[in-house]
């Protein structure tokens, strides 16, 4: 693999790892603190999974402009859902939903992260232009790529499992306190 090609692959792998980190932090708070995600929280996680898939497509199916477009579309969806939840708890005196991380609620972090992803994609495109890296049609199948892929798939699978346990085959409670299927 040429150095020019690996720039794009490395940046997309870094992006996928970032998304995996976001999903891991959310999952840690769910398991360690017993905070069950609300429906809008779950949809923000689904949005991050869709963003991660864009990075994954670039990594495994070759870099394409449409893959970057998918990342941007999924970021808009995630950001819009987060804005909705921020707006619900914006009024003075509202304690918000769930615990906070570094002084901000998770839906506020989700909004910041969604905006951050858009900025990151802009940065990736600029770096690729500056370094002269070309879009690649071939998959990046190294050990690091496989490991990043496996971590992301594991997190999506764990979210699927926990959502089934929490909500069953229906819609979740607005303020869930117990796993529906573990009662």
């Amino acid at each position: 693999m040429s150095e020019q090609r690996s720039v794009g692959a490395s940046l997309n792998m870094l992006g996928l790892l970032g998304i995996s980190l976001i999903l891991t932090v959310a999952f840690y708070y769910q398991l360690a603190l017993g905070e069950l995600p609300c429906p809008l929280c779950l949809l923000q996680r689904a949005g991050f999974a869709a963003i991660g898939m864009g990075f994954l497509f670039n990594l495994r199916l070759g870099e394409r402009g449409s893959h970057y477009a998918m990342i941007l579309i999924a970021s808009l969806v995630t950001g819009f859902i987060a804005i909705r939840q921020v707006s619900l708890h914006l009024a003075p005196g509202d304690p918000g939903y769930g615990t906070m991380l570094l002084g901000l609620h998770f839906y506020t972090w989700a909004l910041i992260a969604a905006i951050g992803v858009v900025c990151y994609v802009a940065l990736v495109l600029v770096i690729k232009d500056v370094t002269g890296a070309r879009d690649s049609d071939t998959a990046f199948n190294g050990l690091a790529s496989n490991a990043t892929f496996a971590i992301f798939v594991l997190l999506v699978a764990l979210n699927l499992l926990s959502t089934v346990l929490e909500c069953g085959a229906g819609q979740c409670d607005d303020n869930p306190v117990r796993y529906l299927l573990l009662r």
């Binding site: 969806v77 819009f80 619900l88 959502t163």
Partner: protein
């Protein structure tokens, strides 16, 4: 309404990526996004009292 559906579709898309089935991966990504948006509109029912 299956709350787990977006994650199931995302996982299926990842499986298609593993098998290098690009077209099916894109279709499943689209389905994930559409279902996520649809579920969002289903849940976003409380009115927001903002004026712009």
């Amino acid at each position: 309404m299956y709350m787990f559906l977006p994650f199931l579709l995302a996982l299926a898309a990842c499986g298609c990526v593993w098998r290098s089935r690009a077209g099916l991966s894109y279709a499943l990504w689209s389905a994930t996004t559409v279902v996520t948006v649809a579920w969002f509109f289903h849940h976003a029912t409380d009115p927001l009292k903002f004026s712009f």
